[in-house]
């Protein structure tokens, strides 16, 4: 065979394998950090998304097509994300998934809105699994954006409702990262604590730079001097791990009310320092999962290891709703699918969930969990990455109890 024949043969084979596949797949771009400081978090999200897609494909996919995940590294940068969004649109991708960083999500929403206005046949639907800035489902709401995580106000609502009944709390300290999300947490905490417990004093309202502090001892000293008995913090990653470590070293007695104590890397870093001290508000608590959701958890552990926890349950809900909407609309056309997703209800792992039509915010149950040592076989599932710690579910708020009014005036095409 000469070279020309070979080239032609390879070309034909490529064409044969690529073209039909490209037509018959629903491509979903995952635009999140896969390198750099936040790579671990981005990678965890990708694992969960891929697993959720596999589950759906195993049952035959949607409308005879398979879900294909296209990972795209945005390095946690809004600019980079827009480049990736453009490239996704050029590849004929109509669905994108992103979650890390409200700064990124905000840029993506704007870009998706513009893109869909200019090129309706290249329209894109944005499935947001973790960016929790409340604005996205209020003033900045978009028909093309769907949020599957509870926004930071909803989480604060649950946290403060839980704190309301704890009469031991009399002084609260707010410690947050100095960026969009940290500011939102601090603002919501100030408002809601004042409304629910006017007797509680806010003795500190501190912002520190994101992911720059190595030793939180000085902050802990300050908290100690303030006499706070509870700390509310939206900190995540090392900012939370180091804070709790420093608190343990200095024998700080306060409790921590957190958003992200359960995410990848944090439970092992908390260790004994976090036991009975760290509380978390989440939509996920594996030990509370309904019987129907257990195979999902087990399957995930089988694939990614016994200590892996599919805490980003939003991925599963998002893809389930997406495929149901496609089935209902009998089409994978973004505008029709988005329309079908509005107001959709389904049974989640912890009870009914609803994609509220008014603002595209998923209304779902929330848990308040406390980090504990799992002893005596009381708990089946452990916190992510650990073999002997877990989150004890201390309170559960059903969907309607977590819902908040929205200021969204949805513009539908």
């Amino acid at each position: 065979m000469n070279v020309r024949h070979l080239v032609r043969a390879v070309g034909c084979a490529l064409a044969a394998s690529l073209v039909p596949a490209a037509q018959a797949d629903v491509k979903i771009a995952y635009i999140d950090p896969l390198s750099g400081l936040m790579a671990a978090t981005g990678e965890h999200g990708l694992h969960e998304l891929e697993f959720a897609a596999e589950q759906i494909n195993a049952q035959g996919g949607v409308l005879g097509q398979k879900l294909v995940i296209v990972p795209m590294d945005n390095k946690l940068s809004p600019q980079e994300s827009l480049v990736q969004l453009k490239s996704a649109a050029d590849q004929g991708v109509h669905y994108i998934v992103q979650g890390n960083g409200s700064s990124v999500a905000g840029a993506l929403i704007d870009a998706v809105n513009k893109n869909n206005e200019r090129e309706p046949d290249k329209a894109i639907v944005f499935l947001n699994y973790a960016a929790v800035d409340p604005d996205f489902t209020n003033d900045k709401c978009s028909f093309w954006h769907f949020r599957f995580d509870a926004n930071s106000d909803m989480k604060m609502e649950a946290l403060t409702s839980y704190m309301k009944n704890d009469k031991k709390i009399s002084k609260v300290y707010l410690l947050n990262q100095d960026y969009q999300f940290g500011h939102q947490v601090a603002r919501a905490a100030r408002e809601m604590v004042a409304a629910k417990r006017p007797d509680v004093k806010i003795v500190g309202d501190e912002l520190h730079p994101l992911a720059k502090v190595k030793d939180f001892a000085p902050y802990v000293t300050k908290i100690q001097a303030s006499g706070a008995d509870a700390i509310i913090t939206g900190n995540w990653g090392s900012d939370l791990q180091l804070l709790v470590k420093a608190a343990k070293d200095a024998n700080l007695k306060s409790e921590f009310y957190t958003y992200y104590a359960g995410v990848v890397g944090t439970p092992p870093a908390l260790g004994d320092a976090g036991v009975e001290r760290v509380k978390v508000v989440t939509y996920w608590n594996a030990n509370e999962a309904s019987a129907a959701a257990v195979p999902y958890v087990e399957g995930y552990k089988k694939k990614y290891g016994a200590t892996a926890d599919p805490y980003t349950g939003a991925m599963h809900v998002a893809l389930t709703m997406l495929t149901r909407a496609m089935n209902e609309a009998k089409s994978t056309e973004p505008a029709k699918v988005a329309k079908a997703m509005e107001g959709m209800k389904m049974e989640g792992p912890f009870g009914p969930v609803e994609m509220r039509a008014a603002d595209h915010q998923l209304i779902q149950p929330l848990f308040i969990g406390t980090f504990v040592k799992a002893e005596g076989g009381k708990y089946k599932y452990m916190a992510d990455g650990t073999t002997d710690y877990t989150f004890r579910a201390d309170a559960k708020f059903d969907g309607p109890a977590t819902a908040r009014p929205t200021t969204c005036k949805m513009q539908r095409p």
Binding site: L37, K214, D215, P218, Y219, Q224, S238, Q241, D249, N251
Partner: protein, 312 residues
């Protein structure tokens, strides 16, 4: 009072750790003129080796072995890489160490994963040592101080009481002259580079479990060591020591201060509510960037640093 005493102790601990990191860098920087971007990577390697060895042999062997291993790696990097790059000038050196820093980070990621490793403080050193007012001071921090101080003592003795130290000190200020006198300056460079890496690794072994051991630890601590070297002054270990303590203490105290420009304005009688939003930022918010501010100010006002002996 509690705030002052505890902050002071915290500041000194942090400062001493910084010194352990920057002493090696100061020596390398002033002798070879190499801005070693990979220095913090050796700190990270020290922490990871410390973790790996401590899970097999325990913490104490790790404390000794990890710096030795990393020191040898450092010496090898100098001998077989940097020395060649040295011949083609400062830019290639800079790029070389820059590349090493990335390679180390990626290697650590491949070997140990992207997530923090559970590097724990040994049980003997865990827990509080003494109580200060209502708060406790951890044993481990005192241990960190003790290690830094004994290292400082050992370094001082080695530099002032040994023949090698004599040559190193001479090479710090007059490398050309030392070479002219027949000393093997490249070998001294290798020794210093290896030694500096070992010191960074020692800091890593005791800092890795005090903070978090993950692949981003080098990137997050890297810039601050340069601040120490610049503020302390080229070629001056004493300068690096003073600068480390100074930066450690300033940063710790700044956190405790909640005053902003606006408050200051109010205090001196202005109607400061008219100040722009930026005036509302408090000193504690600025604490982590304060060292860089100090560095910039130092470069403008006194380019050779606090106790520097050379201009460049």
């Amino acid at each position: 009072m509690q705030l002052v005493v505890t902050s002071l102790l915290n500041g000194v601990t942090y400062g001493l750790l910084l010194f352990m990191l920057s002493s090696g860098l100061t020596l390398i920087f002033s002798m070879m003129g190499v801005l070693n971007f990979a220095h913090a990577s050796f700190y990270m390697l020290g922490a990871y080796f410390g973790y790996a060895i401590s899970t097999k042999l325990g913490f104490w062997p790790a404390l000794a072995l990890s710096p030795l291993i990393v020191g040898s790696i450092g010496a090898a990097v100098e001998r077989y890489g940097l020395r060649r790059a040295h011949a083609t000038g400062h830019v290639s050196e800079l790029l070389f160490t820059f590349g090493i820093a990335f390679m180390v980070e990626e290697a650590v990621r491949v070997v140990w994963g992207k997530q923090p490793v559970p590097y724990k403080i040994p049980d003997v050193l865990d827990g509080p040592l003494f109580t200060l007012y209502s708060s406790t001071f951890p044993t481990y921090k005192v241990f960190m101080m003790a290690v830094s101080l004994s290292m400082l003592g050992a370094l001082y003795l080695a530099l002032t009481r040994t023949r090698v130290g004599l040559v190193i000190r001479a090479a710090l200020t007059r490398p050309d002259m030392v070479e002219a006198l027949g000393h093997d300056v490249p070998r001294v460079f290798m020794l210093v580079f290896g030694g500096g890496s070992a010191l960074a690794a020692l800091a890593g072994v005791i800092g890795g479990n005090a903070f978090v051991t993950d692949p981003s630890m080098a990137a997050s601590l890297g810039p601050i060591v340069f601040v120490v070297v610049v503020v302390g002054g080229l070629g001056s270990l004493t300068g690096a020591f003073v600068a480390s303590l100074f930066i450690g203490i300033v940063q710790t105290f700044a956190v405790a201060v909640d005053y902003s420009v606006r408050d200051l304005g109010n205090a001196v009688g202005f109607n400061a509510s008219a100040f722009p939003t930026v005036a509302r930022i408090t000193l504690s918010q600025l604490a982590p960037v304060l060292p860089y501010f100090i560095m910039v100010a130092m470069l403008v006002v006194r380019p050779r640093g606090l106790l520097g002996t050379r201009e460049s």
